[in-house]
């Protein structure tokens, strides 16, 4: 298991480096980058000085390595300083946002929690809804429950989140007035009343995310459960007189969840992508909203860093899923 984990970890590092290179080059070489948009009225000497001051006269490779150093050495050093009160950073230049002149990582640190709370809650609820539905539809294959479930899953899978979100706002916030139509980021949970408000304002965005992902996950659970229920070992388990719940929930379900874990991992990019939309609809002040804000304001360091943070999150969660997979299915470890 340890060698397997190490191998996966070592594979993740070149992936991350390549992704960072792609993101860096795309932003750096794009025609829309501000380096190319210094007005022509500026005299050439001043222009040269500006470019030198920005470090833009260095070769691409040097700038890429400097950016990597900032990202992987200097920023974590400041993070540790913040936690333990040390001074590892030593006053080195941090990645600054062009919009707010504040370090990019401070902004991200403030916002990551919001994103993770909403997405995490949505995803956990999605799994909790989807797995039982998938199992029961497979167990009662072609029953009315299965038919209705498949139809609803198809709808949940096809209706885009930005439409479900808007629809829920129109119905539950505007017409019925049950829930607030936007998410109040400044709310801090201190007692029961604020906790209730927090749950209330999370209800709609979490519902949207949960519905969308539950549709996908339940379909995968169902088809993987169907495959397993037809296997010989299930017949053997029944033949030796095990109770039905034991056969289905212990023998078949365990094996069926293995491919579902892969789907959860492969869905990571779309989950974080989807969070951008849900944050936009419900005005959640998370990193997705920060990305949109930075794009509108042409704030390149922020955009570069946030895109890369999304990539890091995806790779990390993929790694977690890989490790889970290795734990669930010992055959994977010895490929």
């Amino acid at each position: 298991m340890l060698t397997y984990a190490l191998r996966r970890l070592l594979l993740a590092i070149p992936t991350l480096l390549l992704i960072s290179l792609i993101i860096f080059l795309m932003v750096d070489l794009a025609p829309g980058s501000p380096m190319s948009e210094i007005p022509r009225s500026i005299p050439p000497e001043a222009r040269q000085k500006m470019i030198e001051a920005l470090g833009a006269d260095q070769p691409v490779l040097v700038r890429y390595l400097l950016w990597l150093r900032q990202f992987f050495l200097i920023e974590p050093a400041y993070l540790i300083d913040g936690w333990f009160g040390t001074s590892l950073g030593g006053g080195a230049q941090r990645i600054l946002s062009w919009q707010s002149r504040a370090p990019v990582f401070d902004v991200i640190g403030q916002r990551l929690g919001q994103t993770m709370t909403v997405i995490g809650a949505g995803y956990v609820i999605a799994v909790l809804i989807a797995v039982p539905i998938g199992v029961y539809s497979a167990y009662r294959h072609y029953s009315w429950f299965d038919q209705v479930g498949t139809f609803i899953a198809m709808i949940g899978y096809s209706v885009p989140t930005f439409f479900t979100g808007v629809l829920l706002i129109v119905i539950f916030a505007v017409n019925l007035g049950w829930f607030p139509s936007y998410y109040d980021t400044s709310l801090t949970v201190t007692d029961f009343a604020t906790f209730k408000r927090q749950v209330w304002q999370m209800a709609l965005p979490v519902t949207v995310l949960a519905l969308f992902h539950a549709a996908e996950i339940s379909r995968y659970t169902r088809s993987s459960m169907l495959d397993n229920l037809g296997q010989d070992y299930v017949r053997t388990a029944r033949a030796k007189g095990l109770l039905e719940p034991q056969v289905v929930l212990k023998h078949a379900l365990r094996n069926s969840l293995i491919p579902v874990v892969t789907v959860l991992a492969l869905g990571m990019p779309s989950i974080f992508g989807g969070s951008i939309i849900v944050e936009q609809v419900f005005k959640v002040n998370g990193i997705g909203a920060a990305l949109i804000g930075a794009i509108v304001a042409n704030d390149l360091p922020m955009v570069q860093t946030l895109t890369f943070i999304f990539a890091v999150l995806i790779v990390v969660f993929n790694l977690v899923a890989d490790l889970l997979y290795g734990m669930l299915d010992p055959r994977i470890r010895y490929e």
């Binding site: 992936t15 930005f162 439409f163 808007v166 990019p269 779309s270 951008i276 794009i295 895109t307």
Partner: protein
């Protein structure tokens, strides 16, 4: 399956016979595509999907010739414009008007054209890249490793953020060369195609790997058929079914992605309606007029739902194990 007649049990017999043109006992062999069609037609959801998608495409293609109001028309006099604003649905404007007095039905039709065209072209691009990568990886051994690592890399990319960044960086440059509409179209279609080919590539590679070792390919190689002809004549026709299924799913997801970009305000320029853009504009007015978000939202959802059902039906129809039931 002892008697041959039982093969048509569960399907209207007269229909299958007349449709395929020959019965079970005729001399001519049954074409496999007729079988596929027969199986496809037994999938209720898929047939409904074809009908609904067909109606939507028809409405969007023919509609603007029948409903002749200009989607960009704003009354030139300010007083007229104010009178035309935010009208509720009526005979003159069945879907109402927007905040500038433009006819919503005309805008929906024009927007649908763009949304469907974007989805279709982006799907073609992603299929082309995916099939090329898949065939190369499956057929050329030394390319397999690098190309599959590339596919894994693309699968780990944060796609929506990257798409947003691409639109932000390249929109103005392309717009100055090609004009705002053509520039935005090319950019969005290209960006979506470039970021959605991975599934198709994986499926095609798997199939090619299996096909490569089959006898008919070995036979073709042994009589000296050059590799590009083997791929064109023997491999590609045999991977067409997974490609078709990937195509429908790609079409649906491309439409959703375009709408999502437009919804985030980073799609087409404001005067250029797409369903996603109309939904985005409608959000501001949804308290006063929920129709503004309902119509484009339902249009997108219906399109994607019917395409997904068609994909489901195609997958069942193209699977020979299911077809024989």
């Amino acid at each position: 399956m002892s008697e041959p007649v039982s093969e048509t049990v569960g399907k209207p017999v007269s229909e299958t016979v007349s449709e395929t043109g020959h019965g079970l006992f005729s001399d001519r062999p049954r074409s496999p595509w007729a079988d596929v069609l027969r199986q496809f037609r037994s999938h209720g959801g898929a047939v409904a999907g074809v009908v609904i998608l067909g109606l939507l495409v028809l409405a969007v293609v023919v509609g603007p010739f029948l409903w002749r109001l200009d989607p960009a028309f704003i009354a030139p006099k300010a007083t007229d414009m104010f009178k035309m604003r935010n009208l509720a649905p009526s005979l003159a404007h069945p879907f109402g008007t927007d905040q500038l007095g433009r006819d919503q039905l005309a805008r929906m039709l024009a927007g649908g054209r763009v949304s469907l065209a974007v989805g279709f072209v982006a799907m073609l691009i992603s299929l082309f890249i995916g099939t090329t990568v898949g065939v190369l990886a499956g057929y050329v051994r030394w390319l397999d490793g690098p190309l599959m690592r590339l596919t894994d890399l693309f699968l780990a990319l944060p796609l929506l953020p990257l798409l947003l960044v691409m639109v932000m960086l390249f929109r103005d440059a392309l717009a100055s060369v090609l004009g705002p509409e053509a520039g935005a179209f090319l950019l969005i279609v290209g960006a979506i195609g470039l970021t959605s080919w991975m599934q198709a590539a994986r499926i095609v590679r798997g199939d090619v790997l299996a096909l490569k070792e089959r006898e008919f390919v070995l036979a073709a190689r042994s009589i000296g058929t050059p590799p590009h002809l083997i791929v064109l004549h023997h491999i590609l026709p045999n991977v067409i079914s997974p490609i078709m299924v990937a195509a429908t799913l790609g079409f649906a997801s491309a439409i959703i992605t375009e709408s999502a970009l437009s919804f985030l305000g980073l799609g087409f320029p404001p005067d250029f309606p797409t369903w996603g853009r109309l939904l985005f504009e409608g959000v501001e007015y949804m308290q006063a007029d929920p129709n503004r978000v309902l119509f484009p939202g339902v249009a997108i959802s219906l399109t994607v739902l019917s395409i997904n059902y068609i994909g489901d039906g195609l997958r069942d129809a193209l699977d020979p194990r299911l077809r024989r039931r």
